[in-house]
């Protein structure tokens, strides 16, 4: 067998492999989200259709795609913060500018409206705080989460109770926002660090229309850490105030 024959053989087998793979992908991925559609949905979750949502619930490939895009697409909080301070330059500045001005990312645009972040920007501008202080704090930023459409009071409530859970990158701060059996919207903060007992968490629910804020204290200690909670009030009344979607922003105060 000559080298040329080996090459010919490899080429022929490869051609068949590709043809088979193309057929397989065409069948298996026929109903999957196109990549650019998935990207648009990450940037603006209000675009999701019912069909797309139900497909996502059953498709690992699309769920992973959305997760991968979520992970790759958003600039860091530090970059957003520096952008607001007008201290970002070069490639990083271009990325943030494109993301906010061309892509119009709902999540990141809303983050720039965080009262805590705006306060920090002002504090850094006047020299009262430093960027290092921001970077040292555990911060929770959830993805933009759609809120259920309002249901008339006389109609039976068919949807499951509202519930989202997010955690900081290092896992040291966890925030759960859920609707209780009594219909209240309650935020729970948790940390595995028992030393944080008595410390406060600045919590913001950044809605499309309104931002709800609270300061939650770690006021209960157990062997696996500390917890605290805050009730914002009746979910049915709060949801229309927040709008179509919201996201959680939480930071441990100093």
């Amino acid at each position: 067998m000559t080298e040329r024959e080996v090459m010919q053989l490899l080429r022929a087998v490869h051609k068949l492999d590709i043809e088979e793979q193309e057929k397989r992908i065409a069948t298996e991925r026929a109903n999957c989200l196109p990549f650019t559609r998935a990207r648009a949905l990450v940037l603006d979750p209000t675009l999701w259709t019912e069909n797309e949502r139900s497909h996502l619930d059953t498709c690992r490939y699309c769920a992973r795609l959305i997760e991968t895009i979520e992970r790759n697409i958003h600039p860091s909080l530090r970059a957003l913060f520096l952008w607001q301070l007008k201290k970002l330059s070069g490639d990083e500045a271009q990325v943030v500018q494109y993301h906010l001005e061309s892509d119009r990312c709902r999540r990141c645009l809303r983050l720039t409206q965080s009262l805590w972040l705006q306060g920090l920007v002002e504090a850094v501008k006047t020299g009262q705080r430093t960027l290092a202080q921001l970077e040292a704090l555990p911060i929770v930023v959830s993805n933009t989460t759609p809120l259920p459409a309002p249901v008339p009071a006389f109609a039976p409530k068919l949807r499951p109770p509202f519930h989202i859970r997010s955690e900081s990158q290092d896992g040291s701060l966890v925030v759960t926002v859920r609707e209780t059996d009594e219909g209240e919207l309650v935020a729970y903060v948790e940390t595995p660090n028992r030393e944080l007992f008595g410390r406060k968490v600045n919590l913001e629910l950044l809605g499309e229309r309104e931002t709800l804020t609270a300061e939650v204290t770690f006021d209960f200690q157990h062997e696996r850490g500390c917890v605290g909670q805050h009730s914002f009030g009746q979910f049915a009344e709060l949801a229309p105030r927040l709008g179509r979607d919201f996201q959680v922003f939480a930071v441990l105060t100093e």
Binding site: M1, T2, E3, R4, V6, M7, Q8, L9, L10, R11, A12, V13, H14, K15, L16, D17, I18, Q21, E22, I25, P34, F35, T36, R37, R39, Y61, R64, L65, T68, I69, N72, I73, D91, Q94, V95, Y98, H99, S102, D103
Partner: protein
Amino acid sequence: MSYKGMSDEELIKAYYECNNEAFEELYHRYIARLKQFFIKARLGQQGAEDMSQDTIVRVMETKTTPCKRYSQSRGASFKTWLFTIAYHLLVDKLRRHQKQGIEISFSDLEVEGEAGEEPFEELIPSAEPTPEEKSLSQKLRQAVHECMESLPDRERIAIALWLETDGGMKEKDLAQILGVSVPTAHRVLKRAFCLMRKCLEGKGYR
């Protein structure tokens, strides 16, 4: 607008100008090739599918960063650029699994100024399959797969990359993707074909 007749380079340019359909055409052109490349890197069906997805997402996100965008003026074809991204993702993944002894190193093949061997471009067969290729038996196909499987990572990945562009990726493109000199790329391919030939002969194909 028809995208079928457009070149890869025209399509990525159109995507950067906010034409999403152009990107979907690129996706259809390359998703099976990327997956096959990662399968040859022994990631399995699931792992290969995930890595192809990651590669396409990386390409999609270059839109937001001008310095990361594909540019024809840098000399590489879109395909070379795409497979460079895929190869780097693969190397990152393999590095994370180094505990299992997976490593791609070219240091033993890096010899300065020792070119002069006949490049493989001249050995590349015609685009049309030969009658033998058309009647390729399932048994022979299986043997080729088994021999590919038996190659060391480095040689197997070099062949997988060479096989792109229907078995005609130029050695300089391969060298660019692997981040080695052209003579080194030549040596690794030469070694890979030699191992393949021995393996196939060992299975009775002479």
